[in-house]
């Protein structure tokens, strides 16, 4: 019996010990998950779960911890139904991320931060976040103990769902802050004569590149605003757009079950349904604000939705 403490745990063993990491052994590295993943197609060509798993098996910790795959997986699980081995690859990646954080690595992604001077500690952000990244803590601020939100930037993936839900404007992310969103709405010059449609498109719902390119081909009266997740939309933004002279607002998110950030599309469905109910109570029904959930198989649907809205809004806006 040896008296020296032998490091029995290989890197792969450590991953296996984290719940979800045990799937590692079942994976035979076919790469089907890679072909299903929206991140690789849309955001990061280097994103590759198969390569990450190989790095784990080969004990290449450093490479695994700095691999963008470790940090970018949102757990949408689009790859799961396709995996012949029925593995939740996202859980394996989650296990690697867990070890990476333990080893002192941190997320390279653009995440939200909280302005404690504004935060009221209501906790709405933590309830809204798919990953429970914001947490309420008690800390001393300007000499008194205060309850405020603190974001675990290793959990945050930057979807912006919390930003739209926060009522004080305390939580924000560059690119999707309230002021930036308002600015993007207000620069949209109303085009005379044509119905003005403002389309908010989540970064993930359009799978076919032809659909993404199509958005560029519309004339100026179709204003396209890209957002990380439909969860970023808040009803006030839709109303502000209408007030600024926009005739209709179309919001595109993912189909439930395929939402890149898991719950953004569900939260938005709730918001926009209720907003429409209230517009109806104010005698302003007529589909001027519409939320559509585009599935991975819905190639070409965006065109139908935009054209449908334009038709609805022509030649006269419904209201007045």
């Amino acid at each position: 019996m040896s008296h020296t403490k032998v490091k029995t745990n290989s890197f792969a063993d450590q991953v296996r010990l984290i719940p979800g990491g045990e799937h590692l052994d079942v994976c035979f590295a076919c790469g089907t998950c890679v072909s299903k993943c929206m991140i690789q197609q849309k955001a990061e060509p280097e994103y590759n779960p198969r390569r990450l798993i190989r790095q784990v098996m080969m004990g290449r910790e450093e490479a695994a911890f700095t691999n963008p795959t470790t940090w970018m997986c949102s757990g949408c699980d689009l790859c799961f139904p396709a995996c012949p081995q029925e593995i939740h690859i996202s859980e394996v990646i989650g296990a690697v991320k867990h070890l990476a954080i333990e080893a002192g690595y941190s997320s390279p992604l653009e995440t939200v931060s909280v302005d404690e001077g504004l935060c009221a500690g209501c906790g709405i952000c933590g309830m809204a976040c798919p990953y429970e990244a914001p947490e309420l803590i008690i800390k001393e601020i300007n000499g008194s103990m205060d309850r405020v939100a603190e974001v675990d930037s290793n959990k945050c993936l930057g979807c912006g769902t919390c930003v739209s839900a926060c009522l004080t404007g305390a939580i924000s992310r560059p690119g999707v802050s309230n002021s930036e969103m308002k600015e993007r709405i207000l620069v949209a010059e109303a085009d005379n004569g044509q119905p003005n449609l403002m389309t908010f498109v989540c970064d993930w719902c359009l799978r076919a590149s032809a659909d993404v390119e199509l958005l560029e081909s519309y004339p100026e009266n179709v204003h396209v605003i890209h957002i990380p997740c439909s969860g970023r939309i808040d009803p006030e933004i839709a109303l502000l757009a209408l007030r600024s002279g926009i005739d209709g607002v179309l919001i595109c998110g993912c189909q439930p079950g395929e939402c890149h950030y898991q719950r953004g599309t569900l939260v938005s469905a709730c918001k926009i349904t209720l907003l429409n109910l209230m517009l109806g109570r104010m005698d302003m029904a007529g589909g001027r604000v519409r939320f559509v959930q585009i599935g991975t198989r819905d190639r070409g649907r965006i065109k139908k939705e935009i054209d449908g809205m334009l038709e609805l809004l022509s030649p006269q806006p419904e209201v007045h």
Partner: protein
Amino acid sequence: MAKPKVAFYWAASCGGCEITVTELGMKLVEVGDLVDIVLWPCLMDFKYSDVEAMADKEIDVCFFNGAIRTSENEHLAKMLRAKSKTMVAFGACSHMGGIPGLANNYDKESIFERVYDTSPSLDNSAGTRPGISTKMPEGEIVLPSFYEQVKTLDQTVEVDYYLPGCPPVAEQVGAVLGVILEGKLPEPGAVIGVGKKTNCDECERTKRSNGHVRIKAFKRPHEILADPEVCFLEQGLICAGPATRAGCGLPCIQGNMPCRGCYGPPEGVEDQGAKMLGAIAAVIDAKTTEDVERVMDTIVDPLGTYYRFNLPDSILSELKYGNGNGKQ
């Protein structure tokens, strides 16, 4: 130095704002010594003609409560604006439209129909409706006309300060009177007699699991016995606290009733109802569309809940009534 001249007036309101001033108790007697009250229909006997006879800007401060619903409300708002150096929108109705403002989701005709025809406690078989002008043997009598929409005070005349609340709490009224007497009012346009953040900042109720509870079903206050120690929202009770500017001192919340939102939105929010809807929708516990529908079905009267005090001040009203809703 002459005592500052102060006027109180009520338009479309319930009278609660007047009561809150009397709640100042003995302080009011002191105030009475320090100012000259030139109009206060609720408590003292003045005639409109007394005010009409005043010079422009003769009144130092006018506290105007109530929304603008009728031609009389508008007439008095304009007259008092002309006669006053400083106009304070006093209370939720003049600030944002208040409870009377909820009528903006009906039109004038359907309101009249309800009030004069179909109300169950009414016998109006003659079908009488209020007429603006009626000829009587003694001469013509005139009633104010009832407008199509409820407006806030600042959609009618220019307002210098807003003192929110339904009604504003007496301590804040006292504090504001003090500030006025000391001549320390902030820049015009400010909301006064309020705190900095939202009610959640002052609320002592606990949040469970570090604020990660999500809501499967919303409930109304009469449906459950609320735990007095725990955040209402976490108990499924829709609380407007997160969407409401602090300042009231939380009397409702301490009475174990969720906040209703009367102090209006925090800085930076243009439509309190829409923002609150966005926040409440974000806390639902849902994995499928069916879950969303199930939770949503438990939100009774979303418009009345989210826009309880601010419908005339909302973008919704602005869109419905067109440009006539712009602030002065």
